[in-house]
């Protein structure tokens, strides 16, 4: 076999970006650990704000690790990273809009079920 999979490639022309295998194994391990913890949130039946914040925390941690290291965004040029991440703010806006909307829908359903439409 050729010797490109040796880590010491000082004297060679740098090969197209390869990262040390350790970083991938670390991220892989972390993903398993975080998934285990998010499963534990359900196992121990945490409820309320604690449950929701833990779910969101583990979710964003996993998503961040996958995007940053497995999808190489951490090493990617800024033009690409920014083109990809800024549109996400539009999704966040949409979430807030629809959250307000479902509160209102629920309110009006309850209101007309119990209070009635007048007339």
């Amino acid at each position: 076999m050729d010797d490109t999979n040796q880590i010491n490639e000082k004297d060679k022309k740098p090969v197209d970006s390869t990262h040390k295998i350790g970083i991938y194994l670390w991220i892989w391990g972390l993903l398993f650990v975080l998934s285990f913890f998010s499963y534990m949130v359900d196992w121990y039946q945490f409820q309320g704000m604690l449950r929701w914040s833990l779910i969101l925390f583990f979710m964003f941690a996993k998503a961040g690790l996958i995007m940053a290291f497995f999808m190489h965004l951490f090493w990617e040029r800024y033009a690409l990273v920014n083109v990809l991440l800024w549109p996400m703010t539009a999704i966040a806006c949409f979430v807030f809009l629809m959250a307000a909307e479902f509160e209102y829908t629920l309110f009006s359903r309850m209101f007309y079920f119990f209070v009635g439409g007048g007339a």
């Binding site: 970006s17 892989w28 998934s35 998503a63 190489h72 479902f102």
Partner: protein, 237 residues
């Protein structure tokens, strides 16, 4: 080719580099393979599709006064006579993360031109994906036997079924398409389509390159990424 250090396209790090890249002549993303840039654009649009599904689910679940089925009980599985909450879902998550890791390593070995390792890892990823699809088929048939339909279910709010089948079905379709391509690309790697300057692909005169494995990897990691969100919002919430 995931670093800003690409021959002839040295960019300064940070926003300075971004400004010169974006404001430069003729092309943006200088030195990035066109297929990779396009895959990112596709994944961005796919992100919007899945976001719309999940936001619709949030709206549907939030606006119904009927109690939502408890996913912890609905997706419980008997193991040795004891119902374990979300057992199958936990296994599916495990399988998908495993396959994501093998894919990441396949990309790494691809760039090191290690044909054998890259091929085996892509094949392992494909088998992981196939396992996931199989488990999902089992999950679907179990729920259908229990009477879950897009319009009704025995556990609670009727919307549960339609959101479940829509969201996991769309994700499962992505996984299935990914599995097909993983098998094709495992063959291409083993057959040496990316060796010695590359062999020309289908419907194109362009030569193959290991960057195609990175592009495939982006898609596969995205499928895993979507599962992270589905797992959090649909199964755990």
């Amino acid at each position: 080719m995931s670093d800003p250090k690409i021959d002839g396209f040295e960019l300064k790090p940070g926003f300075r580099g971004m400004a010169s890249d974006t404001g430069s002549d003729q092309t943006m993303f200088k030195g990035v393979h066109w297929g990779k840039a396009m895959m990112w654009i596709f994944l961005l649009s796919d992100t919007f599709v899945f976001s719309c599904f999940l936001i619709a689910y949030m709206k549907g679940r939030g606006s119904t006064p009927v109690e939502w089925p408890n996913p912890s009980e609905v997706f419980a599985l008997e193991a040795f006579g004891v119902p374990v909450p979300l057992l199958l879902i936990a296994l599916m998550t495990f399988v998908l993360i495993t396959s994501s890791g093998t894919m990441a390593l396949a990309v790494k070995y691809g760039y090191e031109k290690n044909r054998k390792m890259c091929g085996w890892l892509v094949l392992a990823t494909a088998i992981g994906g196939l396992t996931f699809v199989g488990m999902q088929a089992y999950e679907w048939s179990k729920l259908i036997h229990e009477g879950v339909r897009p319009w009704e279910n025995p556990f609670g709010a009727a919307q549960f079924g339609s959101f479940f089948f829509m969201i996991t079905g769309f994700h499962g379709t992505h996984v299935s398409i990914g599995v097909i391509f993983l098998f094709i690309y495992a063959y291409k790697v083993f057959a040496g389509h990316y060796e010695n300057g590359g062999k020309r692909g289908w419907f194109t005169t362009m030569k193959g390159d290991y960057v195609e494995i990175e592009i495939l990897g982006l898609y596969w990691h995205f499928v895993d990424l979507v599962w992270v969100f589905i797992f959090a919002f649909f199964y755990l919430w």
